[in-house]
């Protein structure tokens, strides 16, 4: 009888260990693939290479008089007052997406001056600036 119990327990511990190792492996792998880095236009200028498979977020201000609209897309320029990045975007914009206001765009970088965005992050109110944006502005 005792032997059976020990065997059961050993099997149990073995399974737990296997599953923990498996989950750690899967979680780290998925993290590597799905983490979105935040960059400012200046960071992008300093890139050595452009990976056009990886999503990134870019934060800064929408440049004055830079928004152009056609029936499918919105073009605008994100600036950190040092460098600029042209963004093209298809999708719905949040309230208070305006020239001269902070913005965070998420998408794939085509080259060092052009971002193909599929998401513009929402803000709750005018007093809120995505922390990433104020950080990016402060650093420059």
């Amino acid at each position: 009888m005792y032997g059976k119990k020990v065997k059961f327990r050993a099997l149990f511990i073995f399974l737990i260990l296997i599953s923990i190792i498996l989950s750690i492996f899967l979680v780290t792998k998925s993290l590597e693939e799905n983490v979105v880095y935040f960059k400012s236009p200046t960071d992008i200028k300093n890139f050595t290479e452009v990976k056009n498979t990886e999503k990134i977020r870019v934060g800064g201000m929408v440049k004055k008089n830079s928004i152009k609209i056609n029936d499918k897309e919105i073009f605008f320029i994100i600036t950190d007052f040092k460098n600029e990045l042209l963004v093209n975007f298809t999708g719905s914009v949040p309230n208070l997406f305006e020239e001269g206001k902070g913005v965070v765009a998420e998408g794939i970088l085509k080259d060092k001056s052009f971002l193909n965005a599929d998401k513009i992050l929402a803000k709750h109110d005018e007093n809120y600036m995505p922390p990433e944006v104020s950080e990016a502005l402060k650093n420059n």
Binding site: N34, R57, F97, E99, K123
Partner: protein, 626 residues
């Protein structure tokens, strides 16, 4: 006036708390037969004091007493009464006072309901719960006093943010807090039971109602949160894997695991250590929820007060509690060894362990996704965010084995069962679900590999849980909850698979084609209403056999300057039509987002069913007692 009442009753509550900690500690070390009447009396005094304090705050909000700093910052004379009242717990200070209120009310109910229990155990629960209460009292009085005064008295308040005026948002925090705070009782009683050494089946029976109560509130709280996100935020979805949402989901996974483990403890007197670990973890996660949300450490779209000293206090307090509980657990571990009983691999016990494994896996994924960005920023300064694909990639594949286990696990017997050789009705159900899935999937172009087994299995589980209603193996509450859960999974899958979205910039009078539909923007009417300017659009969506009109709105408030979009949503039993628009620069274009979302309403209904199952179980448990 109410400021003085509120403030001083908090001080009295703190004194009561200190007295109770000392007294209950002394009493645990001497042998007494009965609980000292004073202890119950003083706990009730403390509860009344905290209620007075909370009512004073609500009154200050109702009468717009701007000499109170919290009222001044968060209210306005023009706010509707309902939002004045809900505003009292919609802010940092008030929400903590509500936490405290629920903490002490729950403790009082516990003392009343536990009279049949071991005296040492009751004293220790009182002790641990009072430690938590005093921690919160000190926190409130030191860093977040809701009764700070402003002098001279301003004539008008600052809080008139229209986005926060929403009924779901007004009742969502208190419901969630009932769930969070309920776990504090589980935590205190577990520690008390560890020290008193009475962990076992009778304790499990007693604690189960608290687990159920917290679980029900947490489930409904999460539901209300996503309803708010869906109807008010207008992003066209119910779950965004936002850190603030994750923080409420994590204790839910843990509590669901605990809910199942407690049954094993009750029926078989097994898994003692594991139950305690789960109880401690659940409460720590609820506390971390408060910490993460209130300290502003998270990068979230829901931002709250951002005062580092508050964060440091909650963090330190959380760790003091965790380290205390870990220490107590380790030094009393001997009392926890289960009297080993025979259990076989194919049994309900194993099935519940498997359930726990899945819950812990889901929990770890969400935990990693939520705090990894914080860790990385501290360690190497890079700013990252973890998006929905991370969660989807990790959770969806594991749904397949999970659904398989859930289809047969609950019907296994205790101790030992045989895998049935063959059951004809299960085969029929399986074939039926393949058939249903075939008809559903044949019309879609999105045929990614995983969706086929997922849809088949979710329908299989759904039919199995329906089939279970006709046999007598398990309780009705379990059947309803499990049926609700499989319905939820099925609805989420169908919704995710068949939702489609159309984005464009349109001018008035324009028409666009989208799949088999034609979307037309008929008109935009501008009107001045009360304190905002309203732009109401009229869209029509046509295809061969249907015609829908939708009128979303954009509101422009001047004081404070805010623009909000009110989505228009037409709901039927089969699908939702969701349309929201936004103004762009003044050159005639409107930014339009149209979404077709199938079976949306079933996501809400199934979640309600899950909690009804819990509620039934709770009622039945109480009936047995009397």
């Amino acid at each position: 006036m109410s400021n003085y009442f509120g403030n001083y009753s908090l001080y009295i509550a703190l004194i009561a708390s200190i007295y109770l900690i000392i007294k209950s500690y002394i009493d645990t070390n001497i042998n007494i037969k009965n609980l000292n009447k004073n202890l119950v009396l003083i706990t009730s005094v403390q509860t009344v004091m905290i209620i007075i304090s909370f009512i004073s705050l609500v009154v200050a909000f109702i009468i717009s007493d701007f000499s109170n700093e919290t009222v001044f910052n968060n209210s306005h004379t023009l706010k509707p009464l309902f939002y004045k009242i809900s505003g009292s717990w919609g802010n940092h200070e008030g929400s903590l006072l509500l936490w405290l209120l629920v903490l002490s009310v729950f403790l009082y109910i516990f003392l009343l309901k536990s009279s049949s229990q071991n005296i040492k155990y009751r004293l220790l629960t009182l002790l641990f719960q009072q430690i938590i209460i005093s921690g919160f009292l000190i926190f409130i009085l030191l860093t977040s006093n809701p009764f700070n005064t402003v002098f001279p008295i301003p004539s008008e308040g600052l809080g008139l943010n229209p986005i926060l005026q929403d009924p779901a948002l007004a009742i969502h925090p208190p419901i969630l807090y009932f769930g969070y705070v309920g776990t504090s009782i589980i935590f205190s009683t577990s520690l008390a039971a560890v020290v008193a050494g009475n962990i076992g089946d009778s304790w499990a029976k007693h604690i189960k109602s608290w687990v159920l109560v917290s679980w029900i509130f947490l489930t409904i709280g999460i539901l209300l949160g996503s309803i708010w996100a869906y109807y008010e935020l207008g992003w066209g979805g119910f779950w965004f894997w936002d850190p603030v949402e994750n923080v409420s989901l994590m204790p839910w996974f843990c509590l669901t695991a605990l809910l199942h483990t407690v049954i094993v403890l009750e029926k078989r007197n097994l898994f003692k250590e594991w139950t305690i670990i789960l109880s401690i973890t659940t409460f720590s996660l609820s506390m971390s929820g408060t910490f993460l949300v209130r300290s502003g450490i998270l990068n979230s779209i829901h931002t709250f007060a951002n005062d580092p000293s508050r964060g440091i206090f909650i963090l330190s307090f959380l760790f003091v509690l965790v380290i205390m509980s870990v220490t107590i657990f380790f030094f009393n571990q001997k009392k926890l060894t289960s009297t080993i009983k025979n259990s076989f691999i194919i049994s309900k016990e194993t099935a519940i362990l498997v359930n726990n494994w899945f819950m812990m896996f889901f929990l770890s994924v969400v935990l990693v996704g939520t705090i990894y960005p914080i860790f990385l920023e501290v360690l190497n300064g890079s700013k990252i965010s973890v998006g929905p694909p991370f969660y989807h990639n990790l959770l969806i594949p594991f749904l397949i084995p999970f659904l398989v286990f859930m289809s047969f696990g609950p019907s296994l017997k205790w101790i030992k069962d045989k895998l049935k050789k063959f059951e004809y009705n299960l085969l029929i159900i399986f074939l039926a679900s393949i058939l249903i899935s075939y008809f559903i999937l044949i019309n879609t172009e999105k045929k990614f590999l995983l969706s086929v087994p997922l849809i088949i299995l979710s329908f299989y589980l759904l039919l199995v849980t329906i089939n279970d209603f006709f046999n007598k193996k398990s309780s009705l509450s379990q059947k309803i909850s499990h049926f609700g859960f499989s319905l939820l999974i099925t609805s989420i899958l169908l919704n995710g698979l068949f939702s489609n979205e159309f984005n464009a910039n349109m001018k008035v009078g324009e028409e666009r084609k989208f799949n088999d539909k034609v979307i037309k923007l008929n008109s935009v009417n501008v009107r001045d209403i009360d304190n905002y300017k309203s732009l109401k659009a009229n869209f029509e969506i046509k295809n061969q056999n249907s015609f829908i009109q939708l009128s979303p709105e954009v509101r422009i408030y001047q004081q404070p300057f805010t623009i909000t979009s009110e989505a228009d949503i037409k709901t039927t039993l089969f699908s939702d039509n969701f349309l929201v628009f936004n103004i762009l620069k003044d050159d005639g274009y409107y930014n339009v987002r149209y979404q077709y979302k199938p079976v949306m309403i079933w996501i809400w209904i199934s979640t309600i069913l899950i909690s009804i199952g819990g509620l039934l179980s709770l009622i039945k448990k109480n009936e047995k007692k009397y």
